[in-house]
Symmetry: C2
């Protein structure tokens, strides 16, 4: 059973909750915008479903709601930002804004972030560059769930790579992908539906191929993009490693198996090599390379060529990265955001506990099977 709430309802509620735990109104608004962008774009695993998780991290003393987010090292085109244990939802947009400002000055800007927390979907930050006619890049490390090729140990997160590229008449190119075969959210869908996972997504704790979506609870791992060595998993492993190093070794955050887990019930390792989790952002001004109009004309041609390519039987069209998420956003802005029963119950619990109205009435709730 699902409950559907409008974006505005969810945004009001979420902002109120963030303010209740002590965020400034400005930070609460930013965190809400970032968090709900996941729901709008159909990445349900990273949106409102995680609100109670952030609250539990705050309760566990792992989120600072009044962080002093500051640059601790910089050059004309780079900076390292200390997130002061703030919500990644707040730290990340500030760091991306610094990358954009540096790009305005010297052509490109690159910011590595230490001492942060989970930042929602990477595209929420990378896309900030688009309206400035810049290419935006956002990376983050994350709780260790992924075994490198040949290993049984979980040493990497799903470590996403997001690259956003503006176009002209066409909508922008927005790639935002976990460096695993399948993102954890896709596994969660199979878990709820009790369906098997395709081979190449996960392995059991001994490193055998598994199709059991619950394998991670039994010590299994997600697999790097490629799945196995024959299918290039060493490339997915290398990509996840690059994200980890740029986000954390370069900034002074924790890396590899030392990345603090998102879930509050798992302990943080005793001796940590760095601070919090790490992110990495980039902004490149298009006109630092060629005139914006020229670039956009060719980008439109690039997109058109792919979108109109011949398809294999049974497929309607070739998609451009960002297409499905953009279409989902149009739909959910008008029809609302469907919430699974346990997610809605979490919100009801938060509403009661923090005395914040969910403002649900018969007029704006649609119940569906």
């Amino acid at each position: 059973m699902e409950t559907t709430l409008s974006y505005e309802q969810l945004a009001d509620f979420t902002k109120n909750i963030f303010q209740k735990i002590g965020c400034s109104e400005e930070d609460a608004a930013t965190a809400t915008r970032v968090l709900l962008m996941a729901d709008l774009r159909g990445i349900d695993s990273h949106g409102i479903a995680r609100l109670s998780g952030y609250i539990r991290l705050w309760e566990g003393g792992r989120i600072n709601v009044t962080p002093n987010i500051k640059i601790i090292h910089e050059t004309p085109s780079t900076a390292v930002v200390d997130g002061d244990s703030g919500l990644g939802l707040v730290v990340a947009p500030k760091a991306m804004a610094i990358a954009i400002e540096k790009a305005q000055q010297v052509g490109t800007g690159w910011v590595s972030v230490q001492h942060s927390n989970h930042f929602g979907i990477a595209a929420a930050h990378g896309m900030m560059a688009l309206e400035k006619n810049m290419i935006g890049i956002a990376l983050t490390n994350a709780s260790p769930l992924v075994a490198p090729t040949f290993s049984t140990e979980r040493l990497l997160g799903t470590n996403p790579i997001c690259v956003c590229i503006p176009a002209g008449k066409q909508p922008p190119f927005v790639a935002d992908m976990a460096t695993t075969t399948a993102a954890n959210g896709k596994l969660e869908i199979l878990q709820r539906k009790n369906l098997k996972a395709p081979e190449g997504w996960i392995q059991d704790k001994e490193g055998n191929v598994s199709t059991n979506p619950h394998e991670l609870r039994a010590g299994g791992s997600l697999l790097p993009l490629g799945g196995d060595k024959d299918h290039g998993s060493h490339k997915g492993y290398a990509l996840g490693a690059i994200v980890d190093i740029l986000s954390a070794v370069l900034s002074g955050a924790n890396y590899a198996a030392w990345v603090p887990p998102f879930v509050s019930f798992l302990p943080v390792a005793a001796e940590l090599p760095g601070k919090g989790i790490g992110h990495f952002f980039g902004a490149m001004r298009i006109d630092a390379f060629r005139p914006v109009d020229d670039f956009k004309k060719h980008m439109d041609q690039w997109i058109h060529r792919f979108r109109t390519a011949a398809t294999v039987a049974g497929q309607e069209k070739v998609l451009i990265p960002g297409d499905p998420e953009r279409e989902m956003e149009v739909e959910r802005r008008s029809k609302g955001i469907p919430l699974l029963k346990p997610v809605f119950e979490d919100l009801e619990y938060l509403a009661e506990r923090f005395e914040v109205s969910l403002n649900v009435n018969q007029a704006n709730v649609q119940r569906q099977v």
Copy 2:
């Protein structure tokens, strides 16, 4: 049957050939160093085996041996370089040197290149950053051989991503990977041995799964990393697309299906959107983010943690990107570079035609079955 020549023999010969077609001594030395780095590192598909291919492109009027390689647009952290149709083996190191120089000035440097040709292995350029205590990045587009997810058309090259990261006591992290499930070189090995390819490497011209390594000659395609949608091929497609756009749409080179083919017997499309093929290079000074010694200490710890991770049964150790290639280089510098019969015959042909000695005698040739 193989013939093994020493690195020095091959280098002398190759440099002589490049000078015979009109390259300056300096350019010939650079092209030789870059080309043979592939052979030293065991990427046999990209090294001396391609020398006669470069010569045929020159004969076809597609390589300018005395190019005027110049910056046509720049900011403090960026540049676009016009390769003037030079050998990519020569254009790329010059462009990478510009990226490094800009990084010395403002922390990072980013160079997009138009009007170039095949540049050998990406690592030859990305690794230039390592000795400067910088992270090096090298991307290039290439002849269209890869179908995006859901398509039957070859719209992308194997478009490699190379990221090189310095360490301290440990050797550097050097990832250099095609954004396809398997690089074309691996397919060539199967072709020569008449072995089947694993599923997920290639499709036939209708887009059906194929295990026939000769499928590309019949209109088939290589597949993006992931292989099929269920296994994340849309991510490999997005990665290949990002490489294409940064290398060519950003610089004014050709992109998508318009990238000129490496093989001289295939015609270049009549109406091109840009000039030549495109590359993209980046250099990031470590100390633009944190002190070099701190970074290297943590990078050593990162590498040590992965290298000593628990392995699945039957695997000896977890590899760090660059390990196999580095070990191969040590071996081949001491024992020589083995050449397959058709490759050696190509060199004998070039030796005769350009009146350049291959300098092969019984003392330094080892014949093997």
